[in-house]
């Protein structure tokens, strides 16, 4: 039987581009199809990228890539009831993570792949597929492609898996709603801030983020889809209330949204099946503690491994080698480490009640009202008790996360 290529990669986002680069380095000649007019045209992240995985593929990425700012400040902001606010900042001049804007970044990353000989067919989407004994035929908007193996790099909506019968479920998804605003934080050029915001999306499971870019700021919320379904507010309103709550000045430049996988290590969909290897969001490879989200480095890491694995499979290894390689890498080991925190966050107390109890205690501690000032631990115990929460349970739950 004839093949158009050994492997087709569906989606030229972070996972797909990484897989294509590593496949070419392995001597393969992959076909990549991308729905957007260019890579990144349809992609949305917060976005703070940990660049370790990318550096292993492109060592001089810091000099070449359109990264926005290195994240040198990590801020947590907790908005409690009664206008109370708790925030703290950790500063460290490191260059392990950068803010990015995907329309710019992915376009550059795709061009880096094209430079080493990867062919990407843009404006091309996957519509159907047929499995055959010795291959698989993809029906794309530009015609059929027959290949030995497929890498599903189509992101959270997993186009290949869905055509093969997988249904997406609201409980495994978050919705990210984002705005890029013209506000520029007053920081030196080589510094940037990542802020995690808790308590401005009340009544919904989720949180918010603020990232400083070179000359814009990215803000947004990430919300469990099932909590939006059963809630009483529209996603489009949550993000605006959030922006108003933050009080940042500046015009809105772009309004965007994207689903986010929320499976966790214990609920991952299959990483490989039939003639398919799944990478990045399509494989549910994303770490979320409910507030902070890490999917970009996992997409790059799993993509790189898929490119190497597919070569081994063509040379005779079983497909399961892909999962074994992922297990030995940071991708699945970090997913596994994050599993406990992930489970702890299904506790609804995390979304509102613990924050309020914490602020209540701090308020008791700081307000001098003539009465004797309690110790912090006394204040915490009393405040949790008054709010009907169990302090030692809370400490246990929080301990799982940190």
């Amino acid at each position: 039987m004839n093949y158009d290529a050994d492997v087709a990669i569906v989606g030229a986002g972070l996972g797909g581009i990484s897989a294509s680069i590593s496949a070419v380095k392995e001597g393969l000649n992959p076909i990549v199809i991308e729905r957007g007019e260019y890579s990144g045209a349809k992609n949305v992240s917060g976005g703070r990228m940990y660049i370790h995985a990318l550096k292993s593929l492109i060592p001089d990425v810091e000099e070449r890539a359109p990264l926005e700012r290195p994240i040198t400040r990590e801020t947590y902001k907790v908005f409690c009831n009664k206008g109370r606010e708790l925030s703290f900042t950790f500063k460290e001049k490191s260059k392990t993570s950068f803010s990015v804007l995907r329309a710019k970044f992915d376009r550059w990353y795709a061009s880096a792949a094209e430079e080493i000989g990867v062919t990407i067919s843009y404006g091309t989407y996957l519509m159907g597929l047929q499995e055959e004994e010795d291959g698989i035929t993809l029906n794309t908007s530009l015609g059929d492609i027959r290949v030995k193996y497929v890498i599903d790099a189509g992101g959270v909506t997993a186009p290949v898996a869905r055509l093969l019968g997988r249904n997406l479920k609201p409980e495994h998804l978050m919705l990210g709603v984002k705005e890029v605003i013209s506000y520029v934080q007053d920081l030196p050029e080589d510094e940037g801030e990542a802020t995690t915001v808790i308590g401005l999306t009340r009544g919904l499971k989720g949180g918010g983020f603020v990232y400083t870019n070179k000359d814009t700021t990215s803000i947004g919320v990430t919300l469990k889809v099932d909590s939006l379904q059963s809630g009483s507010i529209k996603a489009s309103e949550v993000v605006e209330n959030y922006r108003a709550g933050l009080g940042l000045r500046g015009d809105v430049l772009e309004y965007s949204a994207h689903l986010i996988p929320y499976y966790g290590w214990g609920n991952l969909p299959p990483l490989y099946y039939n003639r398919v290897l799944a990478v990045g969001d399509a494989a549910g490879l994303l770490i979320s503690d409910g507030f902070v989200i890490r999917g970009m480095d996992l997409a790059i890491g799993s993509g790189v491994i898929a490119g190497i694995a597919v070569k081994k499979v063509i040379d005779g290894s079983p497909l399961s080698i892909y999962e074994e390689m992922l297990k030995r890498s940071f991708v699945l080991s970090d997913m596994r480490k994050a599993w406990k925190a992930f489970q702890a966050l299904s506790n609804p107390n995390f979304y509102g009640e613990y924050e309020d109890a914490l602020c209540e205690a701090l308020s008791r501690e700081f307000l001098v009202n003539g009465k004797q000032r309690p110790t912090l631990i006394e204040a915490l115990l009393k405040s949790f008790y008054d709010n009907g929460l169990n302090f030692s349970e809370a400490v246990k739950e929080i301990w799982k996360i940190v």
């Binding site: 045209a41 804007l101 919705l175 814009t216 772009e254 309004y255 965007s256 994207h258």
Partner: protein, 93 residues
Amino acid sequence: MENSVIPLLKRLSLNKYEVSQESHISINTNICKTCVEKPCIRVCPAGTYEAMPDGTVTAHYERCLECGAALVACPFGAISFKWPDKGITYRYG
């Protein structure tokens, strides 16, 4: 300098769209007539789904941000969604 809430349609108008002639979303509105809560309206960040006085829901497909939520927004399977031919092109992303 805007610190107050900006209406959704104004926010959507900031985006670059190439709208197809044909809708990429279809709705089985018979199901909607029996649906009281209409969760699709809360989930969709683009305000694509609008309730009509007769209990059905109409899809303003040209507003679609292609986030993918339409694939799970309706618990009763009334929404059929495929990717549009052209659609949105983000400049920041």
